[in-house]
Amino acid sequence: MFIKQISVFLENRKGSLREFTELLGNENINLLALSLADASGFGIARCIVKSNDTDRALALLRENGYIARTNSVVCVRIPNRPMAFSSILSVLEENDVFLEYAYSFCQSTLSDAVILIRPSDKDRCEKALSENGVTMVSQEEVDRF
C-alpha cells in the first residue's frame, strides 16, 4: 500500500518555491502534503497531489523545465496521543528499516495524524507495519482528503 509522491529539484534562489507552487496552483492542482528539504545551493520539494492529478502535474513541471520524478512512499495513520509515533518507529527499528525522511499531511478527513514516510526498504517497512497492526492509508483514502 504505497502513495505516489512527486519530487522536484529546486534552485536556491528568490522566488523559486513560489513559482513552483504557482505553476501547479494555476492548473488547479492542490498540494495535499508538502515537504521541503534544503541543502547547500539547492532544495528538494516533495509533494502529494490527488492520484488523478499526478501525471498532469509531472508533465506540467517537466514542460516548464523542472527536474521532477515520482516515487512511492508509505502513509501511516497515527493515533493523536503521546508515544504513538515512537511506537511505530520502534517497529521499524526492530525490523532494520530506516527513515530517509518523514512529513505529514496539511489536513485530512481522518481524526488521527497522517504521516508519510520514506523508508530505506519500503517492502520490508510495509510488512513490518502490517504485522504489528499499524494502519496504513491507501491512495484511494488520500484522494478523499
Binding site: F9, I44, R46, I67, E100, R118
Partner: protein, 58 residues
Amino acid sequence: MTEDMFSDTVSHIETLRKFITDSIKSVVGIHAKISLVPPKSIPRSEGKAKRVIDNRKI
C-alpha cells in the same frame, strides 16, 4: 542536474556532488566548488571578456 541523476533524498544528491568534486580534483588537480543547477540554467558565454568600458558621452 538531469532527471536520471535526481533523487528525492538529499544524501543521494550530496553523494553525487562529492563524486563530481572528487572527479574534477583527480583529473584537473584543483578543488572546485560544485553547484548543482537545473538544465539550461547556466547562461551562455558572451564571448570575449570585456576589458574596455566606453564611458564617453558622444
